[in-house]
């Protein structure tokens, strides 16, 4: 059977297999577990201070919150949500890299919330503010790691607040 169903091709996709120069340069065998362990230890023991970065992202999140609060009829809801989404994403991305996995977990919940709300109404903004306050407390308290039982309780409380929001808006 003709691969083009007897039709004249109007456009053509060209497939290119680049020469694997990387393989030729690095050879075989991968990296040893010892090297990977060393790299992971380096990651876990890095001494970079996450607090200034976190403060910067939290300030940016607060700007988004303020913008949402000041919202008028003509405000673009998607834009307003994005101003809160991007710092939340940065907190999620970087927290866990600098020994604050609890911040990544909290920010991940915030991102999930922001992804599904219809509009940044006052109740939604109150919830984002609760996320902000909680994250700030974790940063200021230098709660590294997953926060143990307290961390789980914080995540549970934020999750419940999000659930209540959607229950109310049914």
């Amino acid at each position: 059977m003709d691969p083009h169903y007897n039709q004249k091709p109007r456009r053509r996709a060209e497939f290119i297999m680049p020469p694997n120069t990387l393989k030729a340069k690095v050879g075989s065998g991968g990296l040893s577990d010892d090297i990977l362990r060393k790299a992971q230890t380096l990651l876990e023991n890095n001494t970079a201070d996450f607090q200034p970065l976190a403060e910067m992202y939290l300030a940016s999140l607060m700007e988004g919150i303020e913008l949402a609060k000041s919202g008028g009829e003509e405000q673009d809801d998607e834009y307003v949500i994005s101003t809160m989404m991007y710092p939340a994403m940065q907190l999620k991305a970087n927290g866990g890299m600098f020994q604050y996995p609890l911040i990544s977990a909290i920010a991940d919940k915030l991102i999930h919330f922001l992804e599904v709300i219809n509009e940044p109404d006052i109740e939604a903004v109150e919830i984002v503010l609760a996320f902000h306050t909680t994250t700030r407390a974790v940063v200021m308290g230098r709660i590294k790691g997953d926060g143990g039982t307290h961390g789980k309780e914080l995540l549970y409380a934020l999750n419940q607040a999000c659930s209540r929001y959607f229950e109310k808006s049914k």
Binding site: E14, V26, N46, Y86
Partner: protein
Amino acid sequence: MTYQLQNISILVVEDNQPMLELIKSLLVTFGVKKIVLAQNGEQGFELFRREKPDIVIADWMMKPTDGISLARRIRNDPGSPNQLVPIILMTGFSEKRRVLQARDAGVTEFLVKPFNARDLYKRLEQIIERPRQFVRSEGFFGPDRRRNRKDGYDGQLRRQTDVRQEDYDLSFESTLPQSKEQ
């Protein structure tokens, strides 16, 4: 015998200085000797042209030029010295929509932050051991969305662990971490 990563150069583009340093340290531990650092996509492209690295690792969100724009430029700009270079895009985003956006920009691998040392290594190993072929068609130039299918059995798949064709076609998504309840 292990990888001789001292034989390759890697460009890392990341606007967050501590993160940039962290990635550099990881790569040094892996054995990479030549690491070029840039703090945004604009500077990254200039260094890419000048240094012609073997691999590019870029963050998604940077100003004035983000990682997606950098990937598009590397793939399509006539001034790009190597349109086929493997690009690993780092981001906090993990939803399918974002992955597809990155894929359509010509990104080779997707690395979700936060990541661990093994996650980064796995992306490097993937581009060394299983490089993607490239597709040039109207409106797209970049790595094939599918990886090469393993030769062999063409019959019906019955085991739960069998990879279906539709899974294979979305193989780019396999770079995402398994979702887990936090």
